[in-house]
Structures are given as C-alpha cells and as structure tokens.
C-alpha cells in the first residue's frame, strides 16, 4: 500500500497522455493535458506527506516544531504547478478557439495542413 499514491500519480500522467493521443476534439486535448498535469500534483503532495502530521500552517495550538507537519516546499511547488497549469489551459483554449474559427473544425485529425 505504501506506493499507492505514487502509482496513482503515474497512472494519471499516463491516462492524460493517452487522452491527448486519442483526442478527437481540441478541447478534449486541453482537458487531457490538465489530467496529465494533475498527476504531477499528486506526485508532489505524496512526496511531502508524512503519516499523522498536520498542515504546515502554525495556527494557535499547533506545536512549533518541524517534525509534526508535512513538507511545505512541495506544497509551494504544487501551488506553482496549479497556477502554471491554469494559465497554460487558458492559452491553449484561446488557441483552440482560433483554430476552430480558421479551419472550421476542432478535430486534430482533420487539421492536416497549416494555413495562415
């Protein structure tokens, strides 16, 4: 059981990749990329997890020692990861809109040639 969280991360990453390879619509491609990126969130949070530890935020009543909390460094990296994922999704969605308008289709298989 101790490797389950890592396995979930790997599975999400590969499932997202499969979604990109199989996609029939550009919006589906973008969503599949988000699924693959969620794998990286699970991996980062799993790396920092410690059984029985609390969140790395020292409110009133939390003892001020490092051994009782999970790793804040990977949590901060997950936050960066989520922000980058959201902005990349927005940019790709904007690209998908323009591709659909220029070519009249959003199916990657039908986008054979580049047009200006």
């Amino acid at each position: 059981m101790s490797y389950l969280a890592y396995a979930v991360a790997a599975w999400l990453f590969l499932a997202g990749g499969l979604g990109i390879a199989r996609s029939r619509h550009l919006v589906q491609t973008v969503v599949a990329l988000s699924v693959a990126q969620s794998g990286t969130y699970v991996l980062l949070l799993a790396v920092g997890f410690q059984r029985g530890a609390s969140a790395p935020i020292f409110g009133a009543g939390t003892p001020l020692k490092a051994s009782g909390v999970v790793d804040p460094v990977v949590q901060a990296m997950t936050l960066t990861d989520i922000v980058v994922s959201a902005t990349v999704t927005a940019l790709l969605a904007a690209l998908a809109i323009q591709v659909a308008k220029l070519h009249g289709t959003a199916d990657p298989d039908e986008l054979r040639s580049l047009r200006g």
């Binding site: 790997a10 990749g17 390879a21 935020i57 409110g59 980058v84 927005a90 904007a94």
Partner: protein, 245 residues
C-alpha cells in the same frame, strides 16, 4: 500520421515512461515516512521569519525568485490569450445581447454572493502569511467574485463592474510592485527579495516582514489578470461575430 500509427507510437512511448516511472517509484522513500530534510529546513526558516503559514513563506520569501518567474508566466499567458482573442479582420463587435432567462433563485444567489466572495478574497490575500491562502488563491477568489454578476445573468452589470483597461493596468501594477519589492530588498540588504522589513510578532497581521506585501502585489496581479483573461473569453463568445457580407 494516421490514428493507428499514432496509437502505436503512444503505446511504445507510454510503456517506456511507465517502466521508468515504476523503476523510480520502487526506489522512492516510503509514502508517509518521517524523513523530510527540506521540510525541516524550510519550517525552521519560516518560524525564524515569523510566518505561521510555511507555504507562503516558501513562496514569497525563501523561494521568492521562482514565484517571480511564475508571476511572469501568468502575465505572459494572459497577454498571449488576449492577443489571440482579438477580433479577426473579417469580424467585428456586436452589441450586448439581451434576453434569455435566469432563474430568480440563481439571480439572487449571484448578487448575494458577489460582496461575500469579494470580502472572502480580500481576507484570504490579507491573511496569506497567517492562515491557508495567499496572493494566488485570494486573487482567484476576487476575480470569481466579480463574475458572480455574470452568474446572476447580468453581463451588462459585469461590464460596468470591470472596465477592462483599468484591470490591465492593475495587473501590470501588481507584477511591477512584485519586481520593485525585490529591488527594495537588493537596495536595503544586498540580496534580491531579501526580507528587510521588521518581522513583528508571530501570528500578528503585520508580521513576517515583506511576505504580506508580496501577497498583496500577487493578489492584485492575479485578480486583475484573471478578470482580463475571462473578459477576453466572454467578449469572444458574446460580442464578436463575423461581419455580414
């Protein structure tokens, strides 16, 4: 590349990645174990700088320079999306569409939650160094709050609430303030983004040195950036249409 060839390429590549991931996972420390050297160092540094939220301390103090890069990715992608979503040469802007029906309950919820969400966003930004939250999270909540007017079915009211060019200045102001705060550290202590302000008392609103200021700058940039981004998408969907020929 045909679909079959693409799936074969993916199967080969995916299998290779799966094998490598499996090999890497097999040699990882056990899930949930107590061995976290970075945690020990980062939490000690956060407590020394009197920031109860260690994640905020990592983001805006210990690893602040990386967050600057993250902020620039955000600005760049908003810029790219807005540039992509301009009207093309054979398109122009229509008038704001009217009509449509919104359930009174939805409308009420939208208007009632608008001020509540904005207050929550300000709270999450202001207490980013004390409680869960920070500039990024609070900024997203603030931008969502404004769009409650859209949920209430009033696109015209949303347009009055957010004159988009002011928000684009707001985004530049937030990102610029982030950069300048970094230079303030350079001038006062000789290191970019050095935490130069007095640290204050632990768990007080004004504590943790420069972390709250970075939170506010980030909150401003993120809230304005997302408003500009959503405005570009909404304008694309609702207002821009092909010219009649």
């Amino acid at each position: 590349m045909s679909r079959v060839v693409r799936m074969i390429v993916f199967a080969v590549g995916g299998l290779g990645v799966a094998v490598l991931l499996g090999a890497a996972i097999a040699r990882m420390p056990h899930f949930g174990s107590g061995h976290h050297p970075y945690r020990t160092l980062a939490v000690a540094a956060a407590l020394a700088r009197r920031a109860p939220n260690a994640v905020s301390s990592v983001n805006f103090d210990q690893r602040g320079f990386d967050t600057l890069g993250e902020e620039m990715i955000l600005v760049g992608s908003v810029l790219g999306a807005v540039a992509l979503l301009r009207p093309a040469h054979h398109e122009s802007e229509r008038r704001v569409p009217r009509g449509g029906r919104v359930l009174p309950a939805t409308q009420f919820a939208g208007y009632a939650l608008l001020p509540v969400t904005l207050a929550l966003g300000l709270d999450v930004v202001a207490h980013g160094h004390l409680t869960p939250g920070g500039g990024f999270q609070g900024g997203v909540i603030l931008a969502t709050g404004l769009h409650m007017a859209y949920v209430a079915g009033d696109y015209a009211a949303l347009r009055r609430l957010r004159p988009v060019h002011w928000y684009s200045y707001g985004e530049a102001l937030g990102a610029g303030a982030f950069v300048l705060l970094g230079f303030a550290g350079l001038a006062a202590a000789g290191a970019y983004m050095a935490n130069v302000l007095p640290l204050g008392t632990f768990r007080a609103l004004l504590s943790a040195g420069t972390v709250p200021l970075f939170n506010i700058a980030t909150g401003c940039a993120v809230a304005c950036g997302i408003v500009v981004l959503l405005a570009a998408f909404l304008r694309q969907e609702l207002l821009i249409g092909e010219d009649e020929r």
